[in-house]
């Protein structure tokens, strides 16, 4: 399959419009490494070469454009960059056109439909169509940029007299907790080292007692803040297990105002 796997939905890093691309075969590596990703396909490359030469699309000189195209591909190949199949198909097509153009008119093999038509015509038409849509794509990109400067709000809580109408009020699943916990661990992982204290000084029972002191009946506490003071992963796990234990005993509850929002630990008054 010829699918260019590098074709990403996100833009390539280097800007095509930068104009630093020199298509001569002598130029060295980095340009070509950059450029292959920059061209969206063989038609795009051809348009670029035509623009460089400042010639009219209707007036392409096949011989010249073919040799430019080929030297471009050669340069890419010497760098051992794998080439999408489409670029090679176009190369073959160009060589074929070139050889046809070189023959005197009366010995040119008859094309199927096009009787008197210029053999370049198919390619020219394709280039023109492609160019129109390339332009349309650029305009879409401009619309996108404007749109992305406008923001809408995420669905918000609606105030109403009745409590309990909010979709996520019934407590958070254990999975949300595990995920939140994972987030804390990840953050710890990317932060500085966990310290070298090896002594496992905390037990779940200790932490249960601590949590009960921390949370007076009727009060709340942000879930992630429970781990702010933890110095080891072990301590965090123990704290987490203590929370789970207290939840099982109905001493603590969890709340989350919105999906993926901050989880809050709550200790009911009774």
């Amino acid at each position: 399959m010829t699918t260019p796997e590098s074709e990403s939905i996100l833009p390539p890093e280097p800007a095509y419009a930068g104009g630093t691309l020199a298509p001569s075969a002598e130029t060295h590596d980095s340009h070509y490494k950059v450029s292959l990703d920059v061209f969206e396909g063989p038609l795009d490359l051809l348009l670029y070469l035509i623009k460089q030469d400042e010639i009219d699309i209707y007036d392409i000189r096949i011989e010249r454009i073919t040799s430019q195209y080929m030297s471009y591909l050669d340069a890419i190949r010497t760098l051992n960059i794998s080439l999408a199949g489409e670029f090679l198909v176009m190369a073959a097509n160009l060589c074929y056109l070139k050889s046809r153009m070189m023959l005197p008119k009366h010995v040119q093999p008859p094309e199927e439909e096009a009787e008197e038509e210029d053999p370049r015509w198919d390619l020219i038409r394709q280039l023109i169509e492609y160019k129109k849509f390339k332009e349309a794509a650029r305009e879409l990109g401009e619309k996108e940029a404007i749109r992305q400067n406008q923001f809408t709000h995420s669905p918000d809580p609606i105030q109403s007299d009745e409590e309990g109408e909010r979709p996520l009020d019934e407590g958070v699943g254990i999975f949300d907790l595990i995920r939140a916990f994972q987030k804390v661990l990840d953050r710890l992982k990317t932060g500085e080292g966990l310290g070298e204290i090896v002594d496992d000084r905390y037990t779940v029972a200790d932490k249960i007692e601590l949590l009960q002191q921390l949370l007076a009946p009727g009060s709340t506490y942000p879930f992630t803040a429970l781990f702010d003071d933890a110095t080891t992963k072990h301590e965090m796990i123990v704290t987490f297990l203590a929370v789970l234990e207290l939840m099982k005993l109905n001493v603590l509850q969890t709340r989350q105002e919105r999906v993926l929002g901050e989880i809050v630990i709550y200790r009911p008054a009774s």
């Binding site: 169509e129 992305q148 406008q150």
Partner: protein
């Protein structure tokens, strides 16, 4: 309580854009159940009156010098911050940095947008490259969907843009596309021989990979 406030609350609270007719229908329904004396009149609220109220609301927001405006998208009305505050908002929310589509994605989308419904082979005929992977990515991002199969040998799939596409580019209708009249008519080089679709069809009909 006034109608303009109800409309404002409704547009604000709706998780997705709402159309004038949806608002009118909803107000009529809710008015019938309401105890408010002023609600009587809204039980037969015509859509035209809602349209009028929406105009008033949009105007009062812009005259009041607000940073938020009422905008009509392809799927209805919604509040949005004005363009000029984009940089300020991103300073608060660096994670909201927009993900711009690549030129290759834009080219493919442009072709689908202007020529829909279109087959993969026809897209490839213009772009000159294989678009399998790209189409899959666009489908995953809900910018494109499969609308059916063409009445051609091999029954190739047909692709169309989605309402997410319209929202992403802030386009209300396809006629609003830049240069629409010209590009939607341009005769395209089309795939000379319809290529057979790859595994995706044979493997799991109905479940797209």
């Amino acid at each position: 309580m006034q109608l303009i406030q109800i409309v404002e609350a409704l547009i604000y609270a709706a998780p997705e854009p709402v159309t004038t007719s949806e608002i009118a229908k909803a107000v009529r329904r809710a008015a019938a159940d309401s105890d408010l004396p002023e609600a009587r009149a809204w039980e037969s609220l015509p859509e035209a009156e809602v349209a009028h109220v929406i105009d008033d609301l949009a105007q009062s927001l812009s005259e009041g010098g607000h940073a938020i405006e009422l905008r009509e998208t392809s799927s209805g009305w919604r509040f949005m911050t004005r363009v000029e505050y984009g940089d300020w908002i991103r300073a608060l929310l660096p994670e909201m940095r927009p993900e711009k589509l690549s030129p290759a994605a834009l080219e493919t989308l442009a072709l689908i947008a202007y020529r829909q419904p279109i087959t993969k082979a026809d897209i490839e005929a213009v772009r000159g490259v294989s678009v399998d992977a790209m189409l899959q990515k666009l489908i995953d991002r809900d910018l494109v969907h499969i609308s059916g199969r063409a009445d051609l040998p091999g029954r190739p799939m047909l692709y169309e843009t989605t309402s997410t596409f319209m929202e992403h580019f802030d386009i209300k209708s396809l006629d609003e596309l830049p240069n629409a009249t010209e590009l939607r008519r341009v005769p395209l080089p089309s795939a000379s021989s319809p290529r057979t679709e790859s595994q995706e069809t044979s493997l799991l009909p109905g479940i797209e990979p």
